[in-house]
C-alpha cells in the first residue's frame, strides 16, 4: 500500500500525484495519513483505486470523484463527494453540510449523522446515511436515491424532481411538493441492495418513501408561494 503523509506533502502535491503520477503506476491501494482536517483531499480522482484517509478531513473530500473508492476513518466537513460521478466515498464518522451535493453517480455512505442540505440537487448519486440528516436535505434533488436510517429534519425533499428518499425514523416536515408514497416491492429490493452495500442491518419494510408530487413541474397560479 502506498502511503501519502499530509505532514510531509501538501494537499496540492498529493492531488497532483493522484491525478498525474498514479495512473502510470500499478498502485491500486493508497492511504493518506495525518489529514488533520485539510480541505480538498483527493479531489478530482479519475483512477480505479482504493484510498483510506486515516483521520478527519475538511471540505470537499472526494469532490467530483470518478472511479475511486475512498474511505474516511474520521469525520468530514462540507460537501463530501460533491458532484461525484462514479466510485464510492464511505465516511466512517459524521459529515457536515451538503454531503453528496449535485452528485451524478456512485455511492456515498455516511455511518454517522449529516448536517444541512444532504443530497441537495443530487443528479443520480446514491446516498446512504446511517444516522440522521439535517434540515432542507434533498432540496431540488433531481435523480438518485437517498436512504436515511435515522431521522430527517425540516423541509425534506423540497421541490423534488425524480429523486427518491427513504427514511426509517421521523420526518420533522416535508418540503414543498414532497409527499409520502407507499413502498413497493421494487422499493424494498432497491433499499435492501443499498443497505447491504453500506453494511447496515435494517429491515427495508420499516422505511417510508418520499417522492415528488409533481405539482410544481409547470407554473400554475394555484401553487401560490410554493415555488
Amino acid at each position: 500500500m502506498e502511503s501519502l503523509d499530509l505532514e510531509k506533502m501538501s494537499v496540492r502535491d498529493i492531488n497532483q500525484y493522484l491525478h498525474k503520477t498514479l495512473p502510470g503506476t500499478d498502485v491500486t491501494e493508497l492511504e493518506i495519513i495525518n489529514p488533520t482536517g485539510e480541505h480538498n483531499i483527493a479531489v478530482g480522482m479519475d483512477t480505479e483505486c482504493t484510498i483510506d484517509v486515516r483521520g478527519h478531513a475538511g471540505y470537499y473530500l472526494g469532490g467530483m470523484n470518478k472511479k475511486a473508492n475512498i474511505t474516511v476513518h474520521g469525520n468530514v466537513g462540507n460537501g463530501v463527494a460533491e458532484n461525484m460521478m462514479s466510485g464510492s466515498v464511505h465516511v466512517k464518522g459524521f459529515a457536515s453540510a451538503s454531503a453528496g451535493a449535485t452528485g451524478h453517480g456512485g455511492t456515498l455512505v455516511i455511518d454517522g449523522d449529516t448536517g444541512l442540505r444532504c443530497g441537495i440537487s443530487m443528479k443520480g448519486i446514491d446516498i446512504v446515511v446511517g444516522g440522521s440528516i439535517g434540515n432542507f436535505s434533498g432540496f431540488m434533488a433531481q435523480a438518485g436515491r437517498m436512504v436515511v436510517c435515522g431521522d430527517a429534519g425540516e423541509g425534506l425533499g423540497d421541490s423534488l424532481y425524480e429523486a427518491v428518499i427513504y427514511v426509517k425514523g421521523t420526518i420533522k416536515s416535508l418540503g414543498a411538493d414532497a409527499q409520502l408514497e407507499p413502498m413497493t416491492e421494487t422499493d424494498h429490493k432497491a433499499l435492501k441492495e443499498l443497505l447491504d452495500f453500506a453494511g447496515f442491518d435494517h429491515d427495508p419494510k420499516e422505511f417510508k418513501r418520499v417522492a415528488s408530487a409533481k405539482q410544481l413541474y409547470n407554473w400554475n397560479a394555484d401553487a401560490n408561494q410554493e415555488y
Binding site: 478530482g44 460533491e82 407554473w219
Partner: protein, 449 residues
C-alpha cells in the same frame, strides 16, 4: 360640450401600468420574459472622450499600431487566457440558445481570437469543438457540470449572480426543455426548470475560498478562475471575490440580458453597469489589486464606443450577450436561409409582437431562430452564416475601439484611462465619478466650480 375638453391619461396609472395590473388580475402569475431592462438608465452613452489635440498627441488612425491583446487570469493560474481582443462572448446556455447558435458563437470567437462562455446547462460538443478558448460556467444548479468538462475548459467561471436577476436563479420554461436539454440537465422533459439562486455546497466568502481551491486542485492550478457577480453591492462583493482568490472578476450590470426571468427582476433589481464598473475598480484599487485581478464588465455593452469607455474606466475586457444575439438576427424582420432573406413577420405576429419589440425568448418560439430548441426554427441560424455575422460584429467593435484609442493617443487599448473621459449628465458624472463635461466638477467628490 366645451371645445377645450381633453383626454388626460394618468401618469401613475398609464396604459402600461393598467395592462400590468389587469394581466396580474387575470392570471395570478407574474410576467416572465427575456431580453434585458427596457427602461432608460444612465449608461456609457452619457460619457464622451476627450481625444488628442494640442495638449495630447493622437496616433495616426489608419497606420500606427494599437494593440488589443488581452491577458486574463494572471494572478494564480499557470495558463492565463490570452486573447486578441478584449471583446468576449458572455455566458449563455445551450437550452436558452440552440446548438447552432452556440456553434456560431464559438466559431466567431475563434475567428476573432477571443473567448466564448457556456451557460446553465453544461457544455455541448458543438461549442467545445468550435471554440478555441472556452470559459466553463459553474452555476448554482450545476446542470451538466462534470470534472471532464472542467478539464476540457480553458477557464472556469463561478457564477454568483447575473445582472438581469441578481439574487435570482435561472429559468427555462418547459417548451424549451426538449429531450437533449433535459438529458444534459438530468430533468424530466417539458418541466419548467427553476434553478437555485445559491450554490449548493458553499455559503459565504470563506466557503467560497475553499470552493475555488477545490476547482484549482481539480485542474492542478492550470486554469484561471473567474467569479461573476450580478451588480448590486459591487464594492463589497468585488473585495470578497478577491479575498476568496479569484483570478478574474466579471461584473454584470442591470442592463444584462436573460433568456427568461420575472420582469420585476429585470426592471427593478440591480444597478446600472456604469455605476457597477466604477465601484468594482475602486474596490480593486483600494485592495491594491488593480491589474493583478483582471476585471470583465458586461451588461448592455453594444458598440466599440462602449468597449472603449469600459476600458478607460478600468475594465480589462467586456463580455457581450444581447449584442451577439442581435448580430445573429434577434429582433430582425427577416432570417437568412439558403442565402435568401425570409420574412419572420408572421411568427412575430403569432407571439403578439413585432420585430424590434420581441422579448419572447422564454417561449422558445424565436422568429429568427436564436433562442429556440424548436427543430424547424433553429434551422433559421446556419452556423457558418451566424458565425460570419458575429465575427463581423466583433471585428467592427474592435476597429471602433482602436479608432477611439488612437484618437486619444494610445498605442494599446488598455492604456485608455479615466482622464480620457467626461460625463454629459450629473447622474452619470456621479455614478462614474468623472467630471461633468466642461467643468472639473465630480458630484460627491469635488466642489462645484
Amino acid at each position: 360640450m366645451s371645445k377645450h375638453q381633453h383626454l388626460e391619461e394618468s401618469v401613475g396609472f398609464s396604459s402600461k401600468t393598467r395592462d400590468y395590473i389587469q394581466r396580474a388580475s387575470s392570471t395570478g402569475l407574474y410576467e416572465i420574459r427575456g431580453i434585458g431592462a427596457k427602461r432608460a438608465l444612465p449608461s456609457f452613452d452619457d460619457l464622451v472622450f476627450l481625444a488628442g489635440s494640442a495638449s495630447r498627441y493622437p496616433l495616426e488612425g489608419y497606420r500606427e499600431k494599437c494593440s488589443t491583446k488581452t491577458v486574463l487570469g494572471t494572478r494564480f493560474a499557470k495558463n492565463p487566457i490570452v486573447l486578441d481582443t478584449p471583446i468576449t462572448v458572455a455566458g449563455m446556455s445551450f437550452g436558452a440558445l440552440s446548438a447552432n447558435v452556440k456553434e456560431s458563437l464559438g466559431m466567431a470567437a475563434t475567428n476573432m481570437g477571443t473567448s466564448t462562455t457556456t451557460g446553465d446547462g453544461g457544455m455541448t460538443p458543438e461549442e467545445r469543438n468550435s471554440s478555441k478558448t472556452l470559459v466553463y460556467q459553474c452555476l448554482p444548479s450545476r446542470y451538466g457540470f462534470n470534472p471532464d468538462d472542467v478539464r476540457r475548459a480553458d477557464a472556469i467561471e463561478l457564477v454568483i449572480g447575473q445582472g438581469a436577476k441578481p439574487g435570482g436563479g435561472g429559468m427555462l420554461l418547459g417548451q424549451k426543455v426538449n429531450a437533449r436539454v433535459a438529458g444534459m440537465r438530468t430533468l424530466p422533459q417539458g418541466v419548467d426548470q427553476r434553478s437555485a439562486c445559491r450554490h449548493p455546497d458553499w455559503t459565504g466568502p470563506d466557503d467560497l475560498a475553499i470552493k475555488i481551491a477545490e476547482l484549482r486542485e481539480l485542474t492542478d492550478w492550470e486554469k484561471p478562475i473567474y467569479i461573476k457577480i450580478g451588480a448590486t453591492r459591487v464594492y463589497h462583493d468585488v473585495k470578497l471575490a478577491v479575498h476568496a482568490g479569484a483570478d478574474v472578476i466579471v461584473v454584470d450590470g442591470m442592463q444584462g440580458g436573460t433568456a427568461a426571468t420575472q420582469t420585476v427582476f429585470i426592471e427593478h433589481v440591480g444597478i446600472p453597469t456604469l455605476a457597477a464598473l466604477r465601484q468594482a475598480v475602486e474596490a480593486l484599487e483600494d485592495m491594491d489589486m488593480f491589474g493583478t485581478v483582471q476585471l470583465i464588465v458586461s451588461g448592455g455593452i453594444r458598440s466599440g464606443a462602449d468597449v472603449a469607455k469600459a476600458l478607460a474606466m478600468g475594465a480589462d475586457a467586456v463580455a457581450i450577450g444581447q449584442g451577439m444575439m442581435i448580430s445573429l438576427g434577434c429582433n430582425s424582420e427577416t432570417y437568412i436561409k439558403d442565402g435568401e432573406h425570409h420574412s419572420a413577420e408572421a411568427d412575430y405576429a403569432a407571439l403578439g409582437t413585432k420585430a424590434g419589440f420581441c422579448h419572447h425568448c422564454h417561449t422558445g418560439k424565436c422568429p429568427t431562430g436564436v433562442t429556440t430548441q424548436d427543430p424547424i426554427l433553429e434551422q433559421r441560424i446556419e452556423p457558418k452564416v451566424g458565425a460570419k455575422h458575429v465575427t463581423n460584429y466583433i471585428k467592427t467593435l474592435t476597429m471602433e475601439l482602436t479608432t477611439v484609442a488612437r484618437a486619444c493617443g494610445k498605442s494599446n487599448v488598455h492604456h485608455l484611462e479615466r482622464e480620457d473621459l467626461v460625463a454629459l449628465t450629473i447622474e452619470s458624472a456621479a455614478m462614474a465619478k468623472l467630471p461633468l463635461a466642461g467643468t472639473s466638477w465630480i458630484p460627491g467628490v469635488t466642489e462645484n466650480k
